[in-house]
Point group: C2
Chain length 197, copies 2
């Protein structure tokens, strides 16, 4: 239907998560209308992430440098490790600005439905790092796969590094969350994890 | 927060319509995880639309060839011109597979709110083509700007090409549309444009 060059770009945009035919068409047509210089900047940015970006050898986060910004920061407490699924979680946590320790990015979650096994994740280097740590905070999401991964890591760390404290981030009512809108699992967690005021 | 190369790509994705910070992050991280070869194909596709794609000199639609596929097709009835806002409308209409005439793509709509004037659109060549036509079907959308453009074109064509029949596509209840879910304007149109059965 569309000219070949446009159709090719539409198919490329369809690779993006949640992008269907109509949205991909809209994106491709916006690109077709931009000045050539700006489209070249977009293309260069795409190439840039493949040529410059790589995993931090320490924590598995993405970086343009030898090590990531957190691992390079001498002020961070290397004995507290916050374990997350993806680089986005690191950014979310850094935005909150509360956490002073370091991170460990698993780059996925154990998932029976998607066939992701522990050996597919960045777990070996976590065990090695945990041996020198005081606390490992498991902050995988509160989903089925997140809980499975948390339980797996808890068992593994308790076996391999018996001296380290393994904790899980709190689950409960989010800020601004109203009790009558919360789902049953959130409410069960909020009740079970209640604390003295 | 993110490494520079990733942040640059996130900003590029934010240029796309309806893409906010979170979505742009998600898109950029997907790209970071793809093999380099596939990301290069995406970048090449972007460059491709700027180097190969251009406006058909006859109708204003996008094409990789000298003229667009419809204008090149000798079977199409050149005396009936279907006037639309964008190349997407041509594709939508071609998918319906009913229409045998040719198109004219305005590449926009007259809009007082966005400051788009008639001279910003592909209108001059429409008037020139309409002089040899039997019918001009105005198929701009049923929105404020679409109606303004339709009225402007109707007046212009009646003045410049008094012999041509100027029509407007029907407005009414869409296929599968239920009366009790339709808005007032759609219902007013459906009533006003009723026809004998």
């Amino acid at each position: 239907m569309y000219p070949q060059s446009l159709q090719t770009l539409i198919e490329q945009f369809r690779r993006l998560p949640g992008v269907g035919e109509k949205t991909a068409e809209r994106y491709a047509l916006v690109m077709a209308d931009l000045p050539e210089e700006e489209v070249r900047q977009f293309a260069d940015a795409l190439i840039g992430v493949k040529t410059q970006l790589h995993r931090c050898p320490v924590c598995g986060n993405l970086t343009d440098h030898e090590e990531c910004a957190v691992c390079r920061d001498k002020e961070r407490d290397r004995r507290t490790i916050f374990v997350v699924q993806s680089p986005r979680d690191v950014t979310a946590m850094e935005r909150a600005g509360e956490y002073q320790g370091v991170y460990h990015v698993l780059n996925g979650l154990i998932s029976s439905s998607r066939g992701v096994l522990p050996e597919d994740l960045n777990i070996d280097s976590l065990v090695a790092r945990a041996k020198d740590a005081k606390e490992v905070i498991i902050a995988t999401s509160a989903t089925m796969d997140g809980e499975t991964t948390a339980m797996y890591l808890d068992r593994l760390l308790k076996k391999e590094c018996p001296d380290v404290l393994v904790t899980r981030i709190a689950h409960g009512l989010p800020a601004g969350g109203m009790l009558d809108y919360a789902d049953e699992i959130t409410l069960s967690h909020a009740l079970a994890d209640r604390r003295a005021m």
